[in-house]
């Protein structure tokens, strides 16, 4: 599928140490998985090798609904990469996931790049599969619910 942004940006790769591999595997399957502690059940993002709450090293990745609210946002005008030279304005949102302990995740807000940007607005995830890439990857984008 065509991405929200023009092609040519660096593609995501799982961390060489495997820390976030279950997250990327989940996105490829259309599932959002966030790190969670097996001892205290607390959610944690970005991923780390230890639970910051109880210091357990026993962590898993749990599926959570790709539904959230806009915590903050930015409409970008200046191209910071040659791939974006002809992009024009585009939107990046910081989405809070209430079902995953309120952790934040970064994505693009698809739709009109000049749409109003409202902190607190509800958004749902859209899995953006890049099947023509080598290797394939999937981004999690967001769209307004209302």
């Amino acid at each position: 599928m065509t991405g929200y942004l023009k092609p040519g940006l660096p593609a995501p790769a799982p961390a060489p140490d495997g820390l976030d591999a279950p997250f990327w595997d989940g996105l490829a399957q259309g599932r959002l998985r966030i790190q969670r502690c097996n001892l205290c059940d607390g959610w944690q993002w970005g991923p780390e090798w230890i639970c910051h709450r109880c210091h357990s090293f026993d962590l898993r990745f749990d599926e959570t609904p790709a539904e959230g609210v806009i915590f903050s946002h930015q409409r970008v005008w200046h191209p910071v990469h040659p791939a974006l030279a002809e992009q024009g304005p585009h939107i990046i949102v910081l989405v809070e996931l209430p079902d995953a302990g309120g952790v934040h995740i970064v994505g693009n807000l698809i739709g009109d790049p000049m749409q109003s940007l409202d902190i607190g607005a509800s958004v749902r995830g859209v899995f953006e599969h890049h099947l023509d890439a080598d290797p394939e990857f999937t981004l999690l984008q967001w769209e307004r619910v209302d």
Partner: protein, 393 residues
């Protein structure tokens, strides 16, 4: 009980910078710039570079202390100090580390320095050019979130949303810097004034940052010489003492992928109280402030976290007339700062804070006894310091 403080124990006795250049324009290599700034700072202090026995820098400065010591024929290298963390968050931390080394007898004469030659080593404000990205960047870069402006703007947007802060507050920071740069021949924006209309009509970088809300990128170097306070009167410049210098950040400020639990902050909430406690002064005692402008919004947040106004007072406090040396209640960034003098990762601002105590600023504030420098808003760790005159001790 041992009095664990830096207050009054260390003095700044020399400071200098190279000529400042637009990024990529330095005729000198970065190491040469570092040497030139250090030699000039020694000349300003009236000492030989051989007398330096410590180097203190930050932001992974590339100019190795041992190479500098060999090049300068340093007699007795005692400390080589590097503050962790990128950006300019370590500027005042490098002062704190140098002062701590002197106060504890580890060294006698430490130079705090920073050198940047982006033509030689590449720029900050551009994204990576590689085909793949792994680690924390994998969760931001593929969405186009790459530059420092983008990294920090969502903190500012959330802060502005929470407190009803208007664009004009950010604009006032830019106007104050450019106003002061018109009196400073060192400033790259000397002779290039900024007014409201020019700001308002400038292009967006990323909303709400216009072009003029963003720091320059530059080549150059700066250095300052610190010695024990009991030698403060042995040098040509008036005595200027470190009253306090601290660094740090709040719990989980460095949580990856924008998961700082107190997100709409510039990271000084826990740091500023420690600074004031050490310095023995409070916000009303501060005569002039240099506050690191990576982006104007971070200055607003940092000033709030240092207690100069409440979040709800931002729109009335941040007016140009209130922030300039000629008549403002709290003059801000009196050299032109990172926006309009030079982006020397905040060390230019630190030197300006010292010059205000020395009475040597190009926008001198009357009778400065307490002069603050705030370093690197919105990164972690941040740092902040206060310099004072003899009367402030």
């Amino acid at each position: 009980m041992i009095d664990r403080t830096l207050r009054g124990r260390v003095a700044v006795v020399g400071a200098a910078e190279t000529e400042y250049y637009k990024h990529g324009q330095s005729p000198d290599a970065e190491f040469t710039l570092a040497l030139k700034a250090i030699v000039a700072a020694c000349e300003n202090a009236g000492i030989s570079p051989n007398e330096i026995d410590g180097f203190s820098s930050y932001s992974n400065d590339r100019n190795d202390a041992s190479r500098l010591a060999a090049a300068l024929n340093v007699n007795d290298l005692r400390v080589a100090l590097m503050q962790w963390g990128g950006g300019g968050g370590g500027t005042a931390g490098a002062v704190a580390n140098a002062a701590a080394a002197i106060a504890t007898g580890q060294a006698e004469c430490v130079v705090v320095f920073r050198a940047l030659a982006q033509g030689q080593f590449g720029r900050f404000g551009q994204g990576p050019r590689r085909s793949h990205v792994a680690g924390p960047g994998a969760h931001t870069v593929p969405y186009g979130l790459m530059s420092a402006a983008q990294q920090f703007v969502m903190r500012v947007t959330r802060f502005m949303h929470d407190h009803g802060v208007e664009q004009e507050a950010l604009r006032a920071v830019a106007l104050a810097s450019y106003h002061h740069a018109q009196s400073n021949p060192r400033a790259l924006m000397y002779g290039r004034p900024l007014d409201e209309e020019k700001y308002d009509s400038s292009r967006w970088i990323v909303e709400p940052f216009h072009l003029y809300d963003c720091c320059q990128e530059n080549d150059g170097a700066a250095a300052m010489i610190l010695v024990s306070a009991d030698r403060a009167n042995d040098f040509p410049n008036d005595p200027c003492f470190v009253l306090g210098a601290v660094s740090g950040s709040h719990r989980r400020a460095g949580a990856p992928v924008h998961n700082d639990p107190t997100y709409a902050t510039s990271s000084f909430a826990t740091v500023a109280p420690r600074l004031y406690e050490m310095a023995g002064v409070g916000p009303p005692d501060v005569d002039v402030v240099q506050s690191y402008e990576n982006f104007t919004g971070g200055v607003v947040m940092a000033m709030v976290e240092h207690g100069f106004c409440t979040p709800d007072q931002v729109n009335s406090f941040f007016r140009k007339d209130n922030l300039i040396a000629d008549g403002g209640s709290l003059p801000l960034n009196t050299s032109g700062g990172n926006l309009a003098e030079c982006y020397m990762h905040g060390l230019g601002l630190t030197i300006e804070a010292v010059r205000q105590v020395w009475g040597q600023s190009s926008s001198q504030v009357d009778s400065v006894d307490v002069s603050m420098m705030i370093a690197g808003p919105m990164v972690t760790p941040v740092s902040t310091c206060i310099f004072g005159s003899e009367a402030a001790l």
